[in-house]
Amino acid sequence: MIQLPYLDYIALERKSFLHRLSPRFKIISMAFVLLGIVTLRNLPGFLLLYGILLALFFISRIPIRIFSLTFYPLIFAIIFIFISGFQIHFILLIFLKVLCGSTGVVLLLATTPYPSIFSALGKVLPSSFVTALFLTYRSIFILLDILEKTHYALYLRGGFQWRHPRRSLINISNAFGHLIIKGIDASEKMYESMVFRGFKNKIYYRGD
């Protein structure tokens, strides 16, 4: 999540052929990748799909730093492998499903600016839902900024140390409490400025 601003920057600044494709086309392609993940049942099929996604990833000249994001969901897949009784084939199948999904999504986000994705989604989803999605996205940046400032205060108060669990829990909880209060204050200011600029219940994007 901390890499979100960088991902946004990559989506806006890079100029590969994938960046130039229409957002609608890329969202539909992502739906096909998902269809593949749901319907494919064998390793060669997944290896082929993953190979295609990897090729697209590197052709699009997305920095390797972003690539590490695609491995993050594997943490959660580990617990699921216990269901299978540690069968290699099943584990590989699950891992490839995870990697295909995450690589597809990262590819979409690193080549498509967020307003374009929301604009495309706004054509099929209720406007309040898309507005809430956009405001959440905007709020993540506001909270990241607050978190960065809080981080220093937290560090000065001892931060998080396994040797002092009680103090660490209090520090973390106070940081979250501070984040929530500051966030609510910021949301009130944001609402006032949105109303001032004519917001009713829908955010309009370029081309609407």
């Binding site: 099929g45 809430a132 909880s173 979250f176 409490g177």
Partner: protein, 242 residues
């Protein structure tokens, strides 16, 4: 911990399809119940709380792969209707930004909103009965997480026959690739030796979940106490004050 961290394509289509239908139906009903002006006015707050939940989920407690959900505190601050929409949005963003599982968004919304809605009502109930903030928040969070974890286990259990199919009948999907068929048949033979082991899954999830419920309970309690100290108006406790 209390929502499904499953990749796409693991759960059967009927299950995640029903999850989406259920989430959309409940969402539509709640949308109709909330006044439009009220929804518009509270959208920035909803966005901010959803963002806080997303950030909470992004901070991993490494040894036990646990992250705080902040669903109960969000439920207390947003109310039962808006927390549903907030969890829907959180799941969409988490699916896009790292947790994966776009197809399980509907199911995760239902499971997480159990946590938020139940947390809200239990918090009010325990506050009325106990008249003390710390035990009311801790118990509300602990019980809400317990219920949502069992809901998650129930959902994973419903897909058991599909996992067996994935393990034993690989290659029967809509698209088949045969160039490694010989190798796959060999693996398929080995696979039949062991069955899907849900008991093992539960044995791992419940103790980890228990640590998670305790951690989340303590963190939520401390957050609520902090908010009560700084901005008591946000908790709307005046009407029910002892």
């Amino acid at each position: 911990m209390s929502h499904i961290h499953l990749p796409d394509g693991v759960l059967p289509i009927w299950l995640w399809g029903l999850g989406y239908i259920g989430a959309i139906l409940i969402g539509t009903i709640l949308f109709r119940l909330i006044k439009k002006e009220e929804l518009t006015r509270r959208l920035p707050l909803l966005g901010m709380m959803a963002a806080a939940m997303v950030l909470g989920a992004a901070i991993e407690i490494v040894p036990i792969a646990y992250h705080v959900n902040l669903t109960v505190i969000s439920g207390v601050l947003l109310g039962p209707s808006l927390i549903f929409l907030a969890t829907f949005i959180v799941n969409v963003i988490l699916a896009l930004f790292g947790h994966g599982g776009i197809t399980v968004i509907g199911l995760n919304t239902l499971i997480l909103s159990i946590e938020g809605v139940l947390g809200y009502f239990l918090f009010r109930l325990f506050w009325k009965i106990l008249k003390r903030l710390t035990p009311a928040t801790f118990l509300a969070t602990f019980i809400a997480l317990l219920f949502s974890t069992f809901a998650m286990i129930g959902v994973v259990g419903l897909g058991a026959s599909h996992y067996e199919e994935l393990i034993h009948k690989e290659g029967n999907g809509i698209f088949e690739f045969h160039f490694l068929k010989g190798k796959e048949e060999h693996q398929s033979g080995e696979a039949t030796e062991e069955k899907v082991n849900l008991r093992r899954f539960i044995t791992i999830v419940l103790p980890l979940g228990f640590i998670g419920w305790l951690l989340e309970g303590v963190i939520t309690t401390l957050i609520v106490r902090y908010i009560h100290r700084m901005r008591p108006d946000l908790l709307h406790l005046e009407k029910e004050a002892p």
